[in-house]
Amino acid sequence: MNTAAESIIEVKGLAKRFGKVIALDGISFSVKRGEIFGFLGPNGAGKTTTIRILTGIIVPDAGDASIAGIDIQRDPLNAKMRIGVIPELGNIYVDLTARENIILAGRFYGMFRHVLEKKADELLKRFEIYERRNDPLRSFSKGMKQRVNIASALVHDPEILFLDEPTSGLDVQSQRLIKGIIGEINRKGTTIFLTTHNIEEANVLCQRVGIINKGRIASIDTPESLKRTFEETRSVTCSFDMPADIALFEGNSLVNRLDRMGDKWRLYTDNPDELVKYLASRASEQGLSFTSLEICGASLEDAFLRLTQGGERHVS
């Protein structure tokens, strides 16, 4: 299989530092055409620096990045013609109306006026803001502004859409609409590169996730594979009708770790099935009744936390 032909984003040995702080330390990865790729990491991990390099906003100190086979450093304008970017919230002109913002974005790509106006109206309807198309954005809610932001990035039908924290701080309705639209445009063939803090969002939306920490790629895999890597983070959560003594759980080889959460106990284990059977027998012996019992699989959050432990690194 020709992997180069499949990849729409290719990153090789990308490095960037700001003063003494290493933002990116020679990262390499690729994103396949048509996939939703999630880029996760704690604050300061290098997510935004990566997205800024890939979208031609800043240049790396070393390494190469290509968009649809075009070197972003050598031919940035051509590469930028193929991408849509939603940097973060608030990146639209609040003095302009929703329609004016979308049309302004389209003009940069040389779209003909009648095509642009038709496309702008389509997007306004799709994002459920057509009724307010002529209102200045300063009167819009955060969620509605973000819809205009995304609509503006889609006006020229980009091959790749970069989204930096697209649902951060939005109301539930806007989050749901935006996630739905991300899925919809991906099904139509647009590749999505998405950074997020929201691990559940990455879990639900992304076909693969890359975890970046301290400027290095900690892991790239499917959400399910990452979860499987951390099987030991599976747990059983239970509570009883009467206070249970810690001795009920301690010393058992099935329990790797124990957390008390209010009136509940969380027991981390490699073998939830055996642990549940054990707990049921001990509870019966001691006359305790379960008020709740839940088996929790390994979460992407656990995988993320395991992969991103540590502090900031500096050049000596």
Binding site: F18, L77, K80, N91, I92, G110
Partner: protein
């Protein structure tokens, strides 16, 4: 990509940015205050209550208006865009920093020309000059472009708040006005006064205005245009370098 496509994309970007600036920034209060009201009050403070030959000073005052208005838009755009978070979005469009700088410069120039057409028309109605129209048009366009590029250069330092830029801008623009032969006719300047005047780009537009309206001149036409073009190139090159250096600051 061909050079033809790159050129077309460059000028398209300049045109879109200019239109965006005109639509958004012309009516912003600091632009009105620093671009229109300041030169108007300076003119009134200078002229009212004095028995001056207005015909003698009008060319200089017109140059001052062109300077203030052209250089009032540029200093605000980048700091405002960085503060609002729109600058990063702008950079992600198929444009370069030079496209943005040139777009902002053209926006300042157009603003200045539009307002000064009114000032000029008023002057021509009340003062009967024998106008060299083509030269006047060339001088106004060149001067407005030069001063607008100074405005864009003034926007290059990275500041936490756009109001800081207006302070820096005033610190630079006011001294330039006072050394440029606006309030003291260029013909009478000598020694240090003349040397200082030569350091200011406004001086060369004042000289051209004097030639276009009064038929008097201190330097030659070519020297005036060459000086204005030299200052324009210097301001744009400096703005490009500093904007590039400060790109990440405030994003």
């Amino acid at each position: 990509m061909s050079h033809e496509w790159l050129n077309r994309q460059f000028f398209r970007g300049v045109s879109v940015i200019t239109r965006k600036d005109i639509r958004i920034y012309y009516t912003k209060p600091p632009v009105i205050i620093f671009g229109l009201l300041f030169p108007l009050f300076m003119f009134l403070a200078f002229y009212l209550g004095k028995r001056l030959d207005f015909g003698l000073f009008f060319p200089g005052l017109l140059a001052m208006f062109i300077f203030f208005i052209a250089s009032s838009v540029g200093p605000l755009i980048t700091p405002w865009e960085k503060q609002a978070g729109t600058y990063e979005r702008l950079l992600s469009f198929p444009v370069t920093i030079n496209t943005i700088i040139l777009g902002d410069t053209v926006a300042g120039m157009v603003f200045s020309i539009m307002i000064n057409l009114v000032v000029l028309a008023a002057g021509l109605i009340f003062l009967r000059y024998d106008v060299k129209v083509i030269l006047l048009a060339a001088a106004v366009i060149t001067g407005a472009f030069c001063f607008s590029s100074l405005g864009v250069l003034l926007a290059s330092p990275s500041v936490p708040n756009p109001s800081y830029i207006m302070m820096i801008s005033s610190l630079i623009r006011f001294p330039l006005v006072f050394i440029s032969g606006i309030f003291i006719p260029l013909e009478t300047l000598k020694g240090v006064g003349l040397a200082l005047a030569c350091c200011s780009p406004i001086t060369y537009l004042v000289d051209l205005m004097n030639l276009c309206l009064r038929g008097r001149q201190r330097f030659s036409i070519w020297a005036d245009f060459a000086a204005l073009l030299f200052f324009t190139a210097l301001f744009i090159a400096s703005a490009s370098g500093i904007h590039r250096k400060n790109l990440m600051r405030g994003l």
